[in-house]
Symmetry: C2
Subunit: 744 residues, 2 copies
């Protein structure tokens, strides 16, 4: 990232905190231990006690008592070298969750909410002043009918109260960057840059609102804008009037921000400088700008419905239009990458997001059960062309019209919108997860969701807003390779007709090496209930499916008994890989009526033994990620397969398609279909002369049919090869299951 100047105008000074706990807000801890900030009080305490990692075996259970303690951070304000024109601020980007700040024995702040930044002018306190933060216990709604409902009256991510992939472990403490900041008394309080791209994507109007503190006479604002190559394209200057300035410029034929697979995610650089009467820079704020327009437009064909009387409404629009181009959204549900968001750093995000980009994803749904991410997450999404569907922290609970809750939600949601609205990656806001289903029991009438809609409208009107997912027409689930009625992934979407598939899951086990890292040796094989396998979600994780998420019974039904852990893992991962491939391709086959495929889920907060995730904690891809990457290639050959298990002599039939999301025409090609049975030569079973197709348009081909040979045994492969000669390899392969010796 190029910047206009490296010279720091604000100096960040670290603060060293200690932390301890007590039984009450006013009661002092008897013991303090060193605190790592950002982090979590639980991790500080465990570190000081020399505890083994919380993510190994059932160690997390030792942390339970910490929820109900009051945690006290303390430090003393250091001597800060500064000029008379400078001020010193305490700045924290996030303190989890309800806390007080006490300076020199005086309460200066009582805040509920972890997403609103804290800024306190501490210039006038003498060095050595005691500075403390008292964090209240984990908020728990007294009327909760189940553990996660304890989060139902707070803007605290509900996932940490326990989920099918998350143990009960609720973080507390300073979770985002926190420091003293030395800045000029005349400094930038806020900047807000709005970009508006016209319908032809030929002209962008940019407006920058600046608000400054401590204005002195003759202060002005300079705004420099450089293009993605570093060439200055605009340089404006305006006097500050009543502490504010509004600068405006227009870019002709701007370089556009595109999502992954559609073009480059071009980023302009903006630098706002506060200048004194002599032109000297007092403060500066730099940021990157993507010029793009995102809308949710009607899915093709959706206006034709409903057709008969009595007539309801048409489904809500779920097709992303980016810079005037309809984009099929391919991606995943992003959950918390760690139980403790305080531990998250750019490199962790980078490892996860780099793999999402490589999988041809263009969108991530930042699920409302988890915390809103740190800035570096959105910076990376900006850079990688990953669109972000951002939810507010509401999930699977009834958030009632409680005045205190609504007040905190109002403040927190405004902070979240103000922080994220300028990121090019931000494609839509969403109220939260699965709120309009019985297990959440919220409706369009709940004030929380009307408030979020109103706040997004006021602060970021150009970004689409969804009240929740799923909305009408959108599908969530299933989350299994096969359901209790015997329906496999191959039928799961085949008879559905949704505008968007925004959650669907196929579970798979973690790698053997990861399993060995957190499951005690004596518990490793065979996996049993009542061991670390169960606390790490291999059994009884989802109440609907007692075998979730390992499904050993299903694995053995398809493949016979597993000899060892390696075999179990390999087979479970094969089901996950083929299941996900099938679902992503089927959702894409339904384009343009369908416009989104987002699997549940991408990552995970700790090492699960088995889970729907594509990437194990912290950032280790499961084999399924590679299958998904193949299914998400801009262009590929695809087969619609009726089922997983086949017998010799059975009639085998698949339907062929070319799935084509790329924004170029695709020439005609010949597709040849093969069966590959182990130990046998490949068998050509059909051919299709696929015509050329225009940009962003699939082609459906014929069915190919054959009688399966008597030599069919074990895993066999279906292979689709293309005569297409280009950069992209359009070949697709599917693994299916023939008779297996020893199968039950």
């Amino acid at each position: 990232m190029k910047v206009f100047s490296q010279e720091p105008l604000r100096t960040l000074l670290p603060l060293q905190f200690e932390v301890g706990f007590s039984g009450g807000l006013e009661e002092k801890p008897t013991n303090y231990v060193p605190a790592e900030v950002p982090g979590a009080v639980q991790l500080d305490w465990a570190r000081a006690q020399g505890w083994p990692p919380h993510w190994v075996a059932n160690n997390f259970e030792n942390f339970g008592w910490m929820e109900d303690k009051h945690w006290h951070y303390r430090t003393t304000l250091p001597r800060v070298e500064k000029t008379n024109d400078q001020r010193v601020y305490f700045v924290s980007h996030g303190i989890d969750y309800h806390f007080q700040i006490v300076i020199d024995g005086t309460l200066v702040l009582d805040q509920e909410g972890m997403f609103s930044k804290v800024e306190l002018d501490v210039t006038d306190y003498p060095p050595g002043t005691e500075f403390s933060i008292r964090v209240r216990p984990v908020p728990k709604f007294a009327g909760a009918h189940r553990p996660k409902a304890q989060a139902a009256r707070s803007v605290k991510p509900s996932v940490s109260y326990g989920w099918d992939f998350h143990p009960r472990l609720v973080p507390l403490g300073m979770w985002d960057s926190t420091h003293l900041e030395l800045r000029h008394k005349t400094s930038i309080l806020s900047t807000n840059i709005q970009t508006q791209l016209d319908m032809q994507a030929a002209r962008a109007d940019l407006r920058c609102n600046v608000i400054a503190s401590g204005q002195s006479e003759g202060t002005s604002v300079a705004w420099d804008l450089s293009d993605p190559d570093g060439n200055m394209v605009a340089s404006l200057r305006m006097p500050l009037i009543n502490g504010a300035a509004c600068l405006q410029t227009t870019l002709q034929d701007p370089r556009l921000w595109w999502c992954n697979g559609q073009g480059k995610p071009e980023l302009y650089l903006s630098a706002v400088c506060l200048l004194d009467s002599l032109g000297q820079c007092l403060d500066r704020r730099e940021s990157r700008l993507g010029i793009r327009r995102v809308r949710l437009v009607m899915n093709e064909g959706a206006w034709l419905e409903p057709s008969a009387f009595p007539k309801s409404r048409s489904t809500p629009p779920m097709t992303i239009e980016l810079n005037g181009r309809r984009v099929f959204a391919k991606g995943s549900n992003w959950v918390c990458p760690d139980i403790f968001p305080g531990t998250l750093k750019r490199d962790h995000y980078e490892a996860l997001l780099g793999q999402a980009h490589a999988a041809h994803f263009n969108i991530l749904r930042c699920w409302g059960g988890a915390a809103v991410n740190k800035e570096s997450f959105y910076d990376l999404c900006d850079e990688l062309g990953l669109m972000v569907w951002q939810e507010f922290p509401l999930a699977c609970n009834t958030y009632e019209d409680d005045p205190r809750y609504l007040e905190v939600l109002n403040t927190e949601s405004r902070s979240i919108v103000r922080r994220l609205r300028e990121h090019a990656c931000l494609a839509m806001w969403c109220g939260g997860n699965e709120l309009f289903n019985w297990w959440s029991a919220m409706t369009d009438q709940h004030l929380a969701l009307r408030l979020l809609n109103a706040n997004c409208l006021e602060l970021d009107p150009q970004t689409p807003y969804l009240p929740t997912s799923p909305v009408m027409g959108v599908g969530h689930g299933d989350y299994r390779f096969r359901d209790d009625e015997g329906k496999e992934v191959f039928q799961m979407f085949a008879n559905a007709s949704n505008t968007a598939y925004t959650e669907f899951g196929v579970p798979g086990p973690a790698s053997v090496s990861l399993l060995e890292s957190f499951i005690p040796k004596n518990e490793l094989f065979p996996p049993r209930r009542g061991t670390s396998w169960e606390t790490h979600h291999a059994f009884g994780a989802w109440f609907v499916a007692p075998e979730s998420w390992l499904f050993t019974g299903l694995i053995e039904e398809y493949f016979g008994p597993c000899k060892n852990l390696e075999e179990l893992v390999q087979r479970g991962q094969l089901l996950q890989s083929e299941g996900y491939k099938c679902l992503f391709e089927e959702a894409r086959r339904q384009k343009p009526y369908a416009s989104m495929a987002l699997n549940w889920c991408y990552n995970e907060p700790w090492p699960t033994a088995a889970n729907n995730s594509l990437v194990s904690w912290p950032a280790e891809a499961k084999p399924a990620l590679q299958s998904v990457a193949e299914a998400c290639r801009p262009t590929l050959l695809s087969a619609k397969i009726p089922k997983f298990r086949w017998e010799p002599g059975e009639t085998f039939s698949v339907d062929l398609s070319v799935l084509h999301d790329a924004h170029v025409a695709l020439p005609a090609q010949t597709v040849t279909v093969f069966l590959a049975i182990e130990g046998q030569p490949e068998l050509a079973i059909g051919q299709w002369d696929a015509p050329e197709t225009t940009a962003n348009t699939n082609i459906n081909g014929p069915s190919v049919c054959t009688t399966l040979p008597s030599c069919l045994e074990g895993i066999f492969r279906l292979i689709l090869r293309s005569s297409h000669v280009g950069e992209a390899d359009l070949t697709s392969q599917y693994r299916l299951c023939g008779p297996v010796r020893g199968r039950g």
Copy 2:
């Protein structure tokens, strides 16, 4: 209505206006004619020219040219006798649509929007000052692809641009009360009374916010509250601080406002007085208050859906809960009672609403195609226990994210919400009509609807908000006794499962005497296209059904050729009566999953020759209103009938129910079923011992079956009689059609 004091503290002085037209805003008219205010410029001009009524024959066509003129009202300010402490205001409650006010040659106001009250202090102008209002031509969106789309960038009711029951005739001018007002310089600017009833309906918290102008020292506010019998229940007094006061009180076991059929619509009386330091009243505002709580709650059974994966959301809640009690909403769609809202007076509303009340209606949907009603409409609904579903003026158009439009919509919607929010009758807000269907092409993402949601949330958070009708699960249509595929009203809802039926229509002709009043004698019979029958909507009114709304072909198919107008009208009205009876009863039979039945439509803006309306213009009930009243009785016997036309020897079978909305238990009873064929004794065909039922609960009974006798001919009746002895007669009758001589 009792009031505390009749002594007027504000004096209203009439103003006499003249009006004329010109080609431009700055161009003066050559001619002025006397203006009736409130009214419409069109009516003033026609009156001055001695034109025959616009509603007779095709006379309305003469008004077309007036749309594009600039209309100029003028008057001179009179001498007003007043004390030094008094001020004189020009007050208009509504000027339609985009206008300027010029006083003494100076432009003092330029306003777009007919729903925001105008108040101008004119105290300091000398008597004789010229006062003029320049009304711009009818707003027309230049990009309109059809006539009604000309309203797509303004907050002007779209109905007047032409509809299937409304000719093209777009009113302009002062449409609501307008006068000079003499008041004390210290006067009430606004009061806002909020009532909050607790969940047990045992306690109501009331808050009154008062804002006053021209405060002098020692001014205070007194708030007196008396119960529906006139007994004072609270008397508060607070000093005015910075021109504002907030008074608060609590009522224990308040007398509740109930809708029609559920209890009395009890109304408290509030009087807010501004008192000077000596306790003398300077200004007073009186209003009535209904203590009630309205919510939209989930329809019973709706949380169980959807059941299968991929799973979408549950349907939005459409059951009205009033004071904790679920109420089946029975009513109709209220359209404009006149082409010119300026002509509407309390007595016209009273005639219409009294009949709605007598028909056992408890709700009216004030449809978004029409103008928001005058105050007396809501006063009457308060008194009669008629809940109001109030839409904003958006209907069947795409209201795009245009900044100017959104600004006007913002102002106008805030004025509408502020004016109506204190009415007890106001049960819900709604964005407008059929906006989420292809013919409107709006979606949840349109800023207009997000803005309306946000404004309602801010100004009236306790009242439910719907973005439009229909929403998911809600049904609109059909609008015919029989559709093109031969499906009759009897099948229309029988296979549907909607949460609410908020529009459904069956057309019927006007009475012979009304038809004779507006169709020239030589056109009267037989009805023909190209005559006043067609301009009054008897033919080609609805593009889907060329025979709409008279359906002569269908009438003759059932009954044979019509000899004269009387026979045609009688038969058409019979179909309407029986069609509506069937639909209301079927919707009620689907309770509790279904919770609303509102037919399209109640009234009409001018005399239609045929229409779905129950009441002809101005307030003449069609026979169908009586049938609907029978179908909406709190308790009645009901038969589910499979079809209209029957043959001798055919097996006749109906399903029996008791429909019971009353809030009392109903004892067991014996139901006997008869067939009545003209000229034959009544034939008992079945009996049912119906068990007792609890409050607000239907009972479904058995089927009753018989072979139709050979004497079946002409109209015959099915009669259900009950052994129930009570105030209410539960008997129901249905007319059906046997062989008719001369039928085609």
